[in-house]
Structures are given as C-alpha cells and as structure tokens.
C-alpha cells in the first residue's frame, strides 16, 4: 500500500517536473520553430504551431548576410576568458573566506553581492570613459575584464559555499605533512572541489554568453559577440521575426549543446554537499 502511494506520488512529481520544464523551454522551442517559418507565417494570427511549410531560407539568408563565425569566436573568447580569469581570482578569495575567516568576512561577502544591485546603465558613462582612455573600446580583452568583474561576486559566492562543505581538517592535515599554501590550494582543495568549480564555470559561461548590456554597449565592429549578431536582425520597417529567430537559434545552439552534455556535472555541482 505504502509502495503504491510512493509510486503514485513519483508519477505526479515527474509529471509536474515535465510540465514546469516544458513551460520554461517553450519560448526556446517557439524561437526554434519560428526560425523555420516564412516571415508571414512567423507573425500570422492565429499562430501556427507545427503545420507549416518548413523552410531553411532564414538560415541561408542569415549565413549570407552575417559573418557568424566571427561573432561566435568573439563570444567564445569573451565568455570563456572572463570565466577562467574570474575563477583564477576567486579561488584564493573563496579559500581565505572559507578557511581563515575574519570578523568582517560576512560583511565583505554581502558587500560584494551588493555591487550587483546597481543598475548597469548607472555606470555606463564612467566605464565608457575609462575604456576610451585605456583604448579598450571594441576589444575582446576589455569585455573579458568587464564581464569578469560583473560575475566575480557570483563566482566567489558559489566557490565559498562549496569550499565551506570541505572539512578544514583535511587541509590542516596537508599542512602538517608540509604542504605549502600553493600546494594546499592546488593539489588538495581544488581536486576536492572539482564538481563545485565545474558548475561555477558552466554557470558563468552561460551568464557571460547571454550578457547583452555591456557586450552591446562596449563593442562596434571588431569585438561584437553573438548578442550583437542577434540585435542586428531586428527591423523597425520590415518583417524580421523569422530571421531574428534563426539568428537567435544559431546564437544559443552552442550553449544549449554545452548545457545538454554537461547537465550531469551542473546538477551534481549545484547540489554538491546538499545531501550529506
């Protein structure tokens, strides 16, 4: 009897999870479907769901008109670079906060997070002027630095919570055995926190990949990533939804595939230590 209730509840939970999952995925699915429609079908009322003449025309137009490879390459460098740089800076910071906390550690953590509460446009002009002075406008390195700084509080916070789960005694034992600080962080802490670091890495790649304020405002022709590629397909005078959807699908495809293959790591990292 008890078994029956459990399996019934299980089925209910599964159905609920699928429902929520589909709801969240629906806009992406709709974008992908729209990318195969003609412009007239894309905007037709009532909307058509599956029964339309599927066409690849939008993809061929987008391929012809834009240099997708260049935008993709810029996105990879900017998202990857900013995440790796962020991790390199955040690992020592999170180590010190987790294992040698001071009176102010909690305050610093909160203060770091508070920088995320400032609307980005509030610092657009100061950063723009700095970028002009430093010659960083429309460069990949400039965006790597800005996106790293923006995501750094999240990276530190995530790593801090993962490191907290690791017993300090293990590090202590390593120290007793004569490990230097560098060895301790590199050979003891980091391998133990790999799932946590991996999920931090993935989440921040996704955040940096999708970032659309700074990447649009600090680039022109050379360093523009896929967000600018998408923005170029909106039109004030002329139908554009199908081509925009094709461009969007091409822009999210790499990250969608990356997320698909790494979802096991992502989930295990996000729930790391939760069931202990």
């Amino acid at each position: 009897m008890a078994r029956a209730i459990t399996s019934q509840r299980k089925a209910l939970n599964t159905a609920l999870a699928w429902g929520v999952g589909l709801l969240i995925f629906f806009p992406i699915l709709w974008t992908i479907l729209t990318s195969f429609k003609t412009e007239a079908q894309a905007i037709s009322d009532p909307p058509v769901f599956l029964f339309f003449d599927w066409t690849l025309e939008n993809y061929s137009v987008v391929q012809e008109r834009s240099n997708y490879g260049r935008f993709l390459w810029n996105s990879i460098i900017i998202a990857g670079g900013s995440t790796i740089l962020g991790i390199i800076i955040a690992v020592p910071a999170a180590w010190s906060m987790a294992f040698v906390p001071s009176k102010r550690t909690k305050d610093i953590l909160l203060w770091m997070l508070s920088t995320k509460m400032l609307p980005a446009v509030g610092v657009l002009y100061p950063i723009y002027l700095l970028f002009i002075k430093l010659g960083l406008l429309d460069t990949k390195i400039g965006l790597v630095i800005v996106l790293m700084l923006i995501n750094l509080p999240i990276i530190v916070w995530m790593l801090y919570t993962y490191f907290k789960e690791i017993p300090g005694e293990i590090l202590e034992a390593a120290r007793m055995d004569g490990a230097t600080l560098r060895e301790e962080v590199l050979y003891i802490l980091t391998p133990m926190a790999i799932p946590g670091i991996a999920s931090t890495l993935l989440l921040n790649v996704i955040l940096a990949w999708n970032e659309a304020f700074w990447t649009l405002n600090l680039t022109a022709a050379k360093a523009a990533p896929l967000t600018a590629f998408i923005a170029s397909y909106s039109s004030p005078e002329g139908l554009f939804y199908a081509k925009l959807s094709a461009a969007s699908t091409m822009a999210i495809a790499p990250i969608l595939i990356l997320g698909w293959f790494s979802q096991k790591q992502l989930v295990s990292g996000l729930t790391f230590g939760a069931v202990k």
Partner: protein
Amino acid sequence: MFAKYALGAATAISLIAAGSASAETITIATVNNGDMIRMQGLTDDFTAKTGHDVEWVTLEENVLRQRVTTDITTKGGQFDIMTIGMYETPIWGKNGWLVPLDDLPAEYDADDILPAMRGGLSVDGTLYAAPFYGESSMIMYRTDLMEKAGLEMPDAPTWEFVAEAARAMTDKDNGIYGICLRGKAGWGENMAFLTATANAFGARWFDENWQAQFDQPEWKETLEFYVNLMNDAGPPGASNNGFNENLSLFQQGKCGMWIDATVAASFVTNPNDSTVADKVGFALAPDTGKGKRGNWLWAWALGIPAGTQKTDAAKEFIQWATSKEYIELVAAKEGWANVPPGARTSLYEDPNYKDVPFARMTLESILSADPTNPTVDPVPYVGIQFAAIPEFAGIAGQVGQEFAAALAGQQSVDEALAKAQALTTDEMEAAGY
C-alpha cells in the same frame, strides 16, 4: 645633400599621407531595414571607386540610438557614420555633435535633395545629415474591397470618408477589418501616428508657452474618433500592432485600409510577399477640413559624428550612398521599385520611376508635409509626428502607454488624456520649460 634628404623625406611623408588617405576603414552604424541591407550588399562598388573599406554595425533601432548617443557624447570615436532620423538630427546638430555637410561638391547636387527633407535635416540652413531614404505617411487601400463597398477613394479624402469606408468594408466574420492603424505604445509607434493625426484635428502637443494641451477638446476629439473607429472597424488586439504587425495583416489581405509610412507601398505591392499586391491603391492621409493633413515626414539619414578621425572618407561614403548614381546602381541591379525613395527630386522626374505605382502619391505626401508649420494653431516646436526636443521621446513613450491602454479598453479616453496631461506637465516642468 641636405636638399636631397629633404626632398626624400617630403616624398616619404606625402606617400604616407596619400597611403592613409586612400585606404581607410570606416565603421557605419545602421538599422536592419531593407534599403540598408541593399546598401550593405552594394558596398563593393564604393570600395572599388574609393579604395575605402566599410565595416557595418547593424543594431536594433533603440539600441542604436542609445549606443551612438553614448559614443557621441563621450567622443568615443567608434563610428564614422551613423544612421539617424529626422528627430535626432536637428537636436544633435545644434549641440555640435555632428559634422556639418555644407561643403559637398557641386556634382553631388545638394539642391536636388527634396526641400522638406533638407529642411528637416538642417539647423539654421546647414545640412547635418544626408537623407538616405525618406518617407511620409499615406493611405494604402484595397481597391477590390472599396469597389465592393460601393465607394470610391478620392485622392485627398477626409477622416469622415475614411471612417465611413472603414465601417463599410469591415466583414469581421470573414476576418476583414476596414482599417488597420498603429496601436502599439511607443514614441515612434502609436504616438507617431496619433501626433500626426491630431494635427489634422487641430490639436497640438504644446501651446506657444510650452504648456501641454491634452486637456483641450481637439485631443479628446482625436482620441475618441480613433478609439471608436478601431473598435468598430479595426482588427482585434490592435493595441499590440505596430508597423510590422499591420504590414503583415495587410499583406495577408485582412485590412481594407492602412495608413502608414509611404515606404510600405513597395512591400504591399511586392507579389513575393503580398497576397494583395495587384489590388492596392494609394491616397493622401486624411484631413478634417482644417487645413492640415495627418501625414508625417521622416528620413533615415547618414550623419558623421564630431570626433571621428576619418571625416573625409566618411563624407565620400555619404556622397556615394545618397547620390543619383547610387539610385541608378540599385535600379540596375534590383529594379526601380527597390530604389531608396523620398530623398531626391530627380528621382521623381525620372521617366523610369514614373511607372512605379506608388511614386506619385509618395511624392505628393512628402511635398505636402511641413515640419516647420505642422499644426493648425502655432507651436514652438518643429516636427510633425514628434516635437524635436530631447524630452519628447521619453514623454511620448509614457503618453503612448496611456493611449494604448485606452485603445485596449483598460481605461477611458478621458482618463488617458488626464494622465497624459499630468505626466507631460510634470516632465516639462522638471525639464525647465
């Protein structure tokens, strides 16, 4: 010996100078409209003629505006040419943000630019951006549905006739709506249409002392007329419809009439996209007998931001893209219906262009628009579907929300006007008017 060195050095310097002048790469910010896409495709012709390369940055219209404003105010120098409209050009020109285009060579024939366009893109007689293509607004209507309703569209109809025809053409059971008008909130969406229409009803945004006028009877008449007409003869969900949505409805044969940008004429008569391509007639935007028609004036123009290092190359590009030769180039490659319209007088004198069905009405619409004298009563601002002051975009964006809510039936016309009056008064006071 010294002379020889000096000569050598001078030659070297002049060679470097010549080298840098002949091989610039200019960056152009633009929007994704059909004529601009065509221009991008023809860039090779410019490069072949001048040696300059071009990098395109295409952005969404509002992103573009914000992006180039940031760059221009900080003198960032990221763009050598920007695509801007008739709203920004006089404001930016006055601020000294744009390079004056008053030294274009004689063969460019700047006098050939349509006077209305030239006036709207100039400050005190100095041109600050060259029109790439221009537009007014006009009525596009279905000749077959008009005939079926037993009516005949005059060249210059009144709003009374348009409303009567719209109601007569409406056949909701078959998904035919007599009139499709903009309803989507935005200063460049519903407010462009409603501001222009209000002019025909004798309304105005501000009086001579910059006092908001939404509490005046003319505005009430305009908005009530519009809401009632759309309720009776407009498509469902009209408060979400902007230019593109109405274009799609018209192309699918669901609209009897559509009053919008003249540039849409080439879309609705293109048999590849439009199911009603051979059944479209054109007429001037309607009036109410008060002497003003609700037809606007707009230009997508090319301007050079002050602060660019490549002014000469940028000017060469503007001369190329807005020249008579460019029009001929497009005509040769893509046909006369696809040339950028509404910028040059000579285009409308060209016998080849006279066969294009919408050419005459486009020209008449543009010629009858007068941005310096847009309303029945005098106003302190320039502009037909906007007031060319920096505050307008922000205020009209909010007023547009109120008017869209009135169209959607979420509030009454009186409520919408009262809110519009209050918020406009507040914003203008805060801005120091």
